[in-house]
Symmetry: C2
Subunit: 589 residues, 2 copies
């Protein structure tokens, strides 16, 4: 339908000698010896259109008046370009369209920045004129990729009998988790809805209702301070099923992601994805979302150095901690003493008191702490498989601090040393998560995932006695060092749910106030169930090779949670506030 | 995956003599002569499971302990029921499962209402225990239908190159349209986001960005007083395309709906759908969303009665109004004089001063106004095709009041007289809408659709001089008397958009403040574009044969915009309000 017969970017061999009609935007107009060439652009790409006054004087005159970003409808004949005119950098570079008709559908002012892949425009101006920014081929492709990803996921889940069921956006504020966005109720003064941080409870209730398999690709909200890969609103691929094991849910997730990889990247991933326990990941990579595209694992040297006369190591070990090392192969010359000071400073952000290091030279280990380690240098070299030119760094502290520090150093060095094969997509399951984390600020245990996660059956006795020992039937899926998503079996009895809430510090009163309806629901034949939630923004970001989710969201907010285009958020009328029974207490920013 | 081999409701001939495993809920348990029969239910339906102590004493004992809504896993062999045991009212009624294993996966308290199709439970308790309410077969089926409808629509639009692109939920409040739900910004004190009433401007900007074809099945929000078919949040099938005519967009919409009818109802609808202008619909049916499943059209008698000596008619005609009639065939005996008084009262809600009426008897027209019409009774009988036993009602007032009154009477009588064939699905396009409606309360023209609707080209000159004369390139799709959705071509030049906003009473300043970013966008090569938005809730409601959208929403709000299950909206902590820089001024309800 419509006049267009083919998209500009899809003009191909089968159109040769055909009369076609195109609709698109002027990417570029050139006049070469009285003949006008217009690169016409639509969402699929660009094709060259030729206006020769000998073919149509009238079309030539109109083409001559066109400027960048004019919207045109053009009819002409597809022709093979001569050998020397072929543009191998263009998908349609073998062809051109000899135009005999042209209509200007709309004109355009000169855009504030040029519509090119490598724009020099800053983030703010790109967001202010987002509709122009999105015309740039890489942005258009990012959003088309996103659409293809969601389509693939939906079709997969549809085919596997998952039902797409919508849950409310106007929900109830709960104290667990991040800060809620609130929505004042007009009808109920002093009362507020909260926008969902996730449809967690609703999807569990859908299992209770018997829908058996549910999914939703759904917006979620968190009023947190923003970072590179955070937005006030984000999109979650939300999946829940009854009567399945964690392994079943993981298998569906893998097959779904394999489908996405095949249909959007043309890549056959190997199934099943590797699995690693949380303990192992922390031990070997110092991270619960390890990037396994490169090695440089953490090496435990606690045993090796247990007798050396170096206070830092001794203190760590005496306090029940560990001494671990990273070997940055061949990196000794990349890092000066000053660079190492910087790295040491970086390490201190993660709680380390410093970063001890050695360089491997022809005549042995060199560096500030080498003198303490002479007795064990052979063992260190053996354990770290060190060779001349390697840089070895040490962490000595509690297991947690060493993991956090060396994990971060590992990631940073990989980037700095260009160790990462960017063509790889390394999926990885992290299983057997701890049920709780101790929150030192709040002085209590908090959920590592959320309060509805099912503990491992054998650990249930520790819920009251030693929560740190309780592991969960929980799993995260990691891609290239990013947490793509996480899931778990959920608790399906009231008794166990109450126990877990109690461990989290809930009194009977507060648990009934906040989660009473869930607790009650657990008494009416709640089926065993579990699920997973994946971050769509992050998945598409990684597939698109971008490093900020803003690049795969049509209309994101900036770093201050503002939309520079529409100026949201904005002030509102006094009547609006009056009707909502609220008053602003402070208007300064 | 999982242990289940087949859904309860899908046990069929091909399972005969197979050993199958089921998972589901106890719908009913009976003990007949020492054999236990359990009707086991899952989302697909019910199957009868038989526990015979001679097959397994242990399974029999466990089955004996089961109560309603217990969650079971059962393994057994599928067997043909004996002729006399066949239950023709059950999909699986020819079969039963001889169980040899059973596991209780969860127990259940006695539900507050029974899980049956015809529940006597009230709306509030159904919403409070929504997870139980949704276990009722008709509710389960409604939501499965909804999932199938969205799936069908998505697949259709995917196949036709529409891209699924997400737009923001945290947007900007605008004064046009209904009341916004607001979201206070924590980072920007005194500033508010608004939840979208529709992604209208964003989808237009996506056209400007060149995406060519867009869709989204998206939640929208309106803080309005609730009615039967209104909820604070509702779901819109949102479609926009560039370079297409209204007819193209209508054709896509028709094909999409035909696909839905085929795949969910097994009905082949006839394409194209009939079209009627807005003027004709108002003239013939007194409604912009006529239910064409029955006749009883409005008949214009202005010419016939122009000389009769009846003041009510004369006044109406002298004031430029009309006299129209409805003929309720054969209904004379259904309506007593008292009933007619009630109808007359009902009519007055729509602005009518009363409802004149006649009954057709053997010896002519009878009734309070018959005496005025003796001279023209033959003509009236001819024009209304009246026969003995008919009830004829008259409206005499302005065109608008007569349309509103007789339109409402027509719909009410059809229901009361059972004139509607409930198996029919009558789709209808209403085209050529007025661009504006005069709002008597506000004393200005308001948009009949929205301010971005493209006027008919020939009417543009009237924008400043006589807005009432301006018709729009707008269209609504109507199903069985309900507005399913509406769309239009949109304005794609700044000049015309400014003219329309001016007619709506915007000053240059306010239009720049509210819509400045759109006006600016219109200057950068905005393509001709248009679209449509359909109400998903209403579509599914009509397909499900329900008369309230609550019945097709998983977790709706009640008539007071409350969720009786989670108790949203709720009070929040003082810290939450402090962080948002707002104060509650009134907490009374």
């Amino acid at each position: 339908m419509g006049n267009r017969t083919v998209y500009c970017g899809l003009v191909a061999k089968e159109n040769l000698e055909q009369t076609i009609t195109l609709q698109g935007w002027v990417q570029k107009r050139r006049d070469l010896g009285g003949v006008i060439f217009i690169d016409l652009r639509d969402r699929e790409g660009i094709v060259q259109v030729v206006f020769n006054p000998e073919v149509s004087q009238k079309a030539w005159e109109i083409a001559d008046s066109c400027r960048s970003e004019y919207v045109l409808e053009v009819t002409g004949t597809v022709r093979q370009r001569t050998e020397e005119a072929i543009n191998p950098n263009m998908k349609t570079g073998e062809f051109e369209v000899m135009a005999n008709e042209i209509t200007i559908l709309n004109t355009a002012k000169t855009p504030p920045f040029s519509i090119e892949e490598d724009t020099k425009a800053g983030d703010e101006i790109r967001l202010k004129y987002r509709y122009l920014d999105l015309r740039r081929a890489n942005m258009t492709e990012n959003l088309m990729l996103r659409s293809k990803v969601t389509q693939t996921i939906r079709h997969f889940l549809d085919d596997h009998k998952f039902l797409d069921i919508e849950t409310p956006f106007l929900g109830k504020s709960t104290p667990e988790g991040a800060r809620d966005y609130l929505v004042p109720s007009r009808v109920h003064p002093g009362h507020f809805y909260a926008l969902p941080q996730s449809p967690q409870i609703f999807k569990q209730l859908l299992m209770n209702a018997g829908f058996d398999r549910y999914y939703q690709i759904v917006r979620c909200f968190r009023d947190e301070d923003l970072r590179g890969d955070r937005q006030p609103e984000f999109t979650q691929i939300d999946i829940e099923a009854s009567f399945l094991t964690p392994e079943d849910i993981q298998t569906y997730t893998e097959q779904m992601l394999a489908d996405v990889m095949k249909k959007t990247q043309g890549i056959d991933v190997t199934l099943p994805f590797p699995k690693m326990t949380w303990d192992e990941a922390m031990d070997r990579f110092g991270s619960d979302k390890p990037d396994t595209r490169f090695d440089m694992e953490l090496i435990d040297l606690s045993e090796v150095v247990k007798d050396v006369d170096f206070k830092v190591f001794q203190m760590a070990l005496q306090n029940g901690g560990v001494v671990k090392a990273l070997n940055a192969k061949g990196a000794a010359n990349n890092y000066s003493r000053k660079d190492m000071d910087h790295l040491s400073q970086y390490a201190s952000q993660f709680g380390a008191k410093g970063l001890a290091w050695l360089k491997v030279e022809e005549d042995g280990l060199k560096g500030p702490i080498a003198k303490f380690l002479t007795d064990v240098s052979d063992e260190i070299i053996a354990k770290t498989e060190a060779q001349v030119g390697d840089l070895i760094m040490f962490g000595a502290d509690s297991f947690e601090v060493v993991a956090a520090t060396l994990g971060a150093i590992r990631t940073r060095l990989a980037r700095e040393l260009d160790l990462i094969d960017q063509t790889k997509f390394n999926f990885l399951w992290i299983v057997d998560w701890p049920q709780f984390e101790y929150d030192h600020e709040e002085g209590r245990y908090v959920s590592a995932h959320h309060p509805f996660t099912m503990p491992k059956e054998a650990d249930i006795p520790y819920l009251q006695t030693d929560p740190a020992k309780v592991y969960a039937q929980a799993y995260d899926i990691v891609l290239n060092g990013y947490e793509l998503g996480g899931g778990s079996l959920r608790i399906h009895t009231r008794e166990l749910q109450e126990q877990v809430l109690k461990t989290l510090g809930f009194s009977t009163e507060t648990m009934n106030e906040q989660f009473g309806f869930l607790l009650e629901a657990l008494e009416y034949g709640f089926p065993p169930h579990g699920g997973i939630a994946l971050g769509l923004d992050r998945l598409v970001m990684l597939l698109a090779g971008e490093d900020n989710i803003r690049e795969v969201i049509a209309f994101p907010k900036n770093g201050k949670a503002l939309d520079p285009m529409s100026n949201a958020p904005s002030t509102v009328s006094p009547l609006q506030l009056y009707e909502l029974n609220i008053e602003v207490t402070d208007t300064e920013e």
